[in-house]
Amino acid sequence: MQPKSAAAGVEFVERSSFVRSDTTQKLLAFASLIVLFVGFSLASPNFARFNNIVGILLSTAVNGILAVGVSFVIVTGGIDLSVGTVMTLCSVMTGVVISFWGLPIPLGILAGLATGALCGCVNGTCVAKLRLPPFIATLGMMMVSKGLSLVISGTKPIYFLATPAFRQIAMGTIFGIPYAVFIFFGAAVIASLILTRTIVGRYAFALGSNEEAARLSGINVDRWKIGIYTLEGLFVGLAGIVMASRLNSAQPALGQGYELEAIAAVVIGGTSLSGGEGSILGTIIGAFIMSVLTNGLRILSIPQEWQTVVIGIIVILAVYTDILRRQGR
């Protein structure tokens, strides 16, 4: 028995070094964020100013909340292409309730969240019950929600002119920091707790790690999957409300493209697109990397077109390091 356990000991030593590499991506992402921050601070005196930092935080909020939401779905091994346009639909519904119908602001917020949850529920049902690939189901939802936004709003922006308080949801400030930033951080903390400390989160990981094994463990896979997409929808609804509040209007033509930025943030943060791994903290770091880059490059007067190119390269590098990490096993 003695030599055998010794061999097992060797095995563990070797393997635990790989375990450490599971956190490599997150550390790498965090290190990149620091390097970018320091680099831009040195390159331009305007970067590290309070107002600019607040600007970065504010510009991360909407994409950050979206990315947090889509993290849930990506952890299950799925994908959601509809978050950008569903977010817009949520803004529009909030606008309809508050500005068209003149109902109180809380009802408008409720409408926005409910719209998001409903769209998520439909996505989840298509994936779980109709067995559509998530890519296709959410691609359909992307088009449907985009169209609905335009139809409902009559293709025109809905302004919240009669309700100045609505703008305060995102743009009111404490110590010069807009509420939107606090909403973002609050959402992130709640999402992180859900993902790591509750049964929904644990099942999300289980589905992403091995859906068939989860099913054969007696887990009602379909039900939980629908639940997870619905939960994601709530975050998308929240992003829609923050977006509408920040712009003081629901812009039906906006939204497309946000889904890819959200997915990019998740991927840069080290969440694997094949599911079963990932963290909200990583996603937030990913979202910040993207907005720091955008902001920093703008301050350095690098044209916006180039910013897109750089972010594209970052996404490719992030996924490639993820692949390298996997091969290391």
């Binding site: 028995m1 055998k4 356990s5 097992a8 095995e11 563990f12 393997r15 635990s16 790989f18 375990v19 599971d22 400390r197 509750t198 049964i199 929904v200 644990r202 099942y203 990981f205 289980a206 992403g208 790690s209 091995n210 068939e212 094994a213 989860a214 099913r215 054969l216 463990s217 007696g218 887990i219 009602n220 079963g276 791994e277 096993r329």
Partner: protein, 424 residues
Amino acid sequence: MIPLFGLYVLFPTRRNFAPLNIFIGREPLKAGFVLNEKQLNQQAQELLDRMNLDLDPRARVGDLTVAKQQMVEIVRALSFQSEVLIMDEPTSMLTDSEIQELFRIIRELRAQGVGIVHISHRMEELKQIADRVTVLRDGQYIATVSTEEVTIDEIISMMVGKEIYETARTSKLDVDSEVILEVRNLNRSREIKDVSFELRRGEILGFAGLVGAGRTEVARAIFGADPVDSGEIYVHGQRVEIRSPHDAVRYGIGYLSEDRRRYGLMPTLDVSTNIAAAALERFTGVMGWLLHAQIQRTAQAQVSDLSIRTPTLEQRVRYLSGGNQQKVVMAKWLVRNCEILIFDEPTRGIDVGAKSEIYKLLNDLAESGKGIIMISSEMPEILRMSHRIIVMCEGQITGELPAAEATQERILQYATRRESIARQ
């Protein structure tokens, strides 16, 4: 010549027409990349004619019967001008008349000078079609004999070998103990044919048979992992409807799959989550909050009880050895406290030390009053562990032996018995 487009990828074979299947990857082409359909059909027809096969080259392979699909496969093999043809269990999916048709073709090929290796576990068939028989056992060559000079019993004894295996257990089972699982007339397409049996409290019921006998299919059907065509399942005498593993687990049935990596483990998750996976809802407080300390305590108890070797409970199961992974899957069902446990090849790919630990665990579980179905392709294991042995062949139960009467020879006789041929 390599076609421009990977036709392998473009056309899933069963959707396609027979000629494309036959010449896939080597299609006659026009101008280097356009499919020459006329020539293709012509070449296919020539081959079909050579075999005296009545097959429309324009039929989609997916629409043909299994037998006809197999003919297409054979024609494809012949299109390589093969001199040797290796057929692995070609008759396993065929009906009697189809088998006779296949044998006619095999004889025709033999007359044309093609050498044929026919892999089969059907003894009667070997007598019908083979000139010589080679016996392999556990990857080792045993002997080659002329079919005419050997009896089926002699072949079976070569398959069994002369090693001394441990003797059967002395059955300690109380024969009057409660029947906790009863399966009546289970049917599922061609895979499960009219399977009925009972499992008692405290019993280890061995399921023996050759690979492909339908044992795993029966297990998955009982567990609700695959739908069934007909059949009744009773748990503690109560008729139950099991439509999904979720239902089965609710009725106290646990299933340990033969392929733990694919069906048993969540490789990227930690040991404690994997152990708690089937009972997670029990460890949940308000708002779905997980009771972390309880999960850890339960997992820790299983890790020590089953001596699962892992550095911590947070270790991802992917990094455990095969034996320890298997114990994690077992622990999952123990935590769920299932009364009826189906263990499908529980010691596959596991080192000897872990094996004997698992045997001990199985015995302990049976003694504690659980009913265990153990599917195993290892004869010594089946003989050593089971109170009673059910033997399956081609989806049917072909025999049932109490441990005291079971021998390798008798199991193999049942395992290679094909009802329809045996009756002739």
